[in-house]
């Protein structure tokens, strides 16, 4: 029972979700269409279960950091910072969510969201530009024929994408477009098809319970 129930749940839910996208009309012998079953039940259920999963994950985050504080590990002060900010944001956001008509609260939340979270996020993201610069210096080297191919197509695309490229040679944008639409598209298509086939077989194994590391073994 402990082993079978989860497998049955996965199988039944998966079949409903799958058929809901591609069938119309009621299930024979009933008046319910699978797509309605999905729309009215499975989908909102999933939103709710996912939300509980966020809670579970947050409990883990809190436990990891409260332990760090309790044991006075190096840098425990940072764990305090994390827990305090988490509590403030979670508390405030919850209040906003439960009182949607309170526009002032929403506006104040937007203030601490836009002005703290947005710059942090964008600043971290901006580090990528520096890393691209240093990676292009250190790592993009013509070590082999393959690496050279990668290098040349990257250079052509860069010249085609920036307005300055067209000033150097007016055809750069055309060559860039050709690379993008012919070899790039073909390569992408191959990778996409391969990965989709791999994904299909992997999903099939999960569907039929052949892959169940995540469900644990019998105990």
């Amino acid at each position: 029972m402990r082993k079978e129930v989860p497998l049955v749940i996965t199988f039944v839910v998966a079949i409903i979700v799958m058929l809901s996208a591609i069938t119309t009309g009621p299930i024979p012998g009933t008046s319910i269409a699978i797509s309605d079953l999905f729309r009215q039940h499975i989908s909102p259920w999933m939103t709710i279960v996912s939300a509980f999963a966020v809670g579970l994950a947050s409990v883990n985050l809190l436990r990891v950091h409260t332990r760090a504080i309790a044991r006075k590990r190096n840098d425990w002060i940072y764990s305090v910072i994390l827990i305090v900010t988490l509590a403030i944001y979670a508390g405030f956001r919850t209040y906003v969510e439960l009182n949607l008509s309170n526009a002032t609260a929403a506006a104040n939340y937007a203030l601490i969201f836009n002005n703290i979270l947005t710059p942090l996020s964008a600043a971290m993201w901006a580090l990528l530009a520096f890393y691209v610069a240093s990676a292009s210096y250190r790592a993009f080297r013509a070590r082999s024929a393959e690496a050279t191919v990668l290098l040349i197509s990257a250079i052509v695309v860069m010249l085609g994408a920036a307005p300055v490229g067209a000033l150097i040679w007016s055809r750069f944008p055309d060559v860039q477009r050709w690379l993008l639409e012919v070899p790039n598209m073909t390569g992408q298509r191959g990778i996409l098809i391969g990965a989709a086939i791999g994904g299909f077989v992997t999903s099939l194994r999960v569907l039929l319970g052949m892959e169940r590391g995540h469900l644990g073994s019998a105990d």
Partner: protein, 271 residues
């Protein structure tokens, strides 16, 4: 050739410094390099030009987080500007948690200019469940009972006559991941046959291009460059246009790095 050897192992911090200078200088003193407009950008412009402000409502879907910055945010800013110029109404929705807040940054600006929330535009808020939620919303827009401000969606003037995604004249997405596009195509565009265009971060342009070529996407705006092109089309320069020079310099410097890196590598190897 000691110099080349040293060059091969130059401290990465020097590279960082050079890079920041190359971008900051043209930002302070722009040069004015001309810009070509791509057909995919023009396609979006033409669609919006062809809509009728009296009857048509546009759906905008925001699926990006603040982290992607202006590379994506500049796109909805200019597209919304175009909609407003033409007097078109729009409904905003989001399937990524930070989307509504990004949308509000645009809405705040519109409200300060006198446009009316609920009549000219509305922010329905965020719905969890990613692809799943896209499908649910596409089949029945009333899954949002209240908007992001707690108003009853059914009572909003702009929502009258809208019950599925097919009731919108045009759908434009803004997404920072490939999944956003694939999700919309799978769940709404292909099965329901709606007109859909999308603005993406520059990184996603290669993976989005096949969808544009196959006609599944009616238009494609790629990153800050796409925004800059669009700003030119609607003749309202904004964030994108002001930064194209610095972007060119950044490109040149990176090309220079690649070249220098390879030269020092080749000479270093010969020794």
């Amino acid at each position: 050739m000691d110099f080349l050897k040293k060059l091969q192992n130059v401290d990465r911090r020097i590279i960082y410094l050079l890079f920041v200078l190359a971008l900051a200088i043209p930002l302070i003193r722009p040069i004015g390099i001309p810009l070509q407009i791509s057909p995919a950008t023009r396609a979006v412009y033409n669609i919006i030009e062809s809509l009728d402000p009296a009857t048509d409502v546009v759906l905008l879907s925001f699926e990006y987080a603040p982290g992607s910055g202006i590379d994506i945010h500049a796109i909805p800013v200019t597209v919304v500007e175009h909609l407003m110029k033409r007097g078109l109404r729009w409904v905003g929705v989001s399937f990524s948690p930070e989307g509504p807040l990004m949308m509000n940054m645009i809405i705040d600006d519109l409200e300060s200019r006198g446009y009316k929330y609920g009549e000219d535009f509305v922010n329905l808020g965020y719905m969890a469940g990613e692809e799943n939620a896209i499908r649910l919303f596409s089949l029945d827009t009333s899954v949002f009972t209240t908007d992001s401000r707690g108003n009853s969606v059914a009572s909003l003037p702009i929502m009258q006559g809208i019950s599925t995604v097919k009731d919108f004249a045009f759908v434009h997405g803004f997404t920072s991941s490939d999944l956003g596009i694939a999700g919309w195509l799978r769940q709404a565009v292909d099965p329901l046959g709606i007109d859909y265009a999308v603005g993406v971060v520059t990184v996603s342009v290669p993976s989005a291009t096949p969808y544009y070529n196959s006609g599944q996407l009616k238009g494609l705006l790629g990153g800050l460059r796409g925004a800059a092109e669009y700003e030119l089309l609607i003749e309202t320069p904004g964030l994108g246009a002001s930064m194209m020079d610095a972007q060119s310099m950044g490109h040149l410097l990176i090309l220079g790095f690649i070249l220098l890196g390879n030269l020092s590598y080749l000479f270093g190897k010969k020794k």
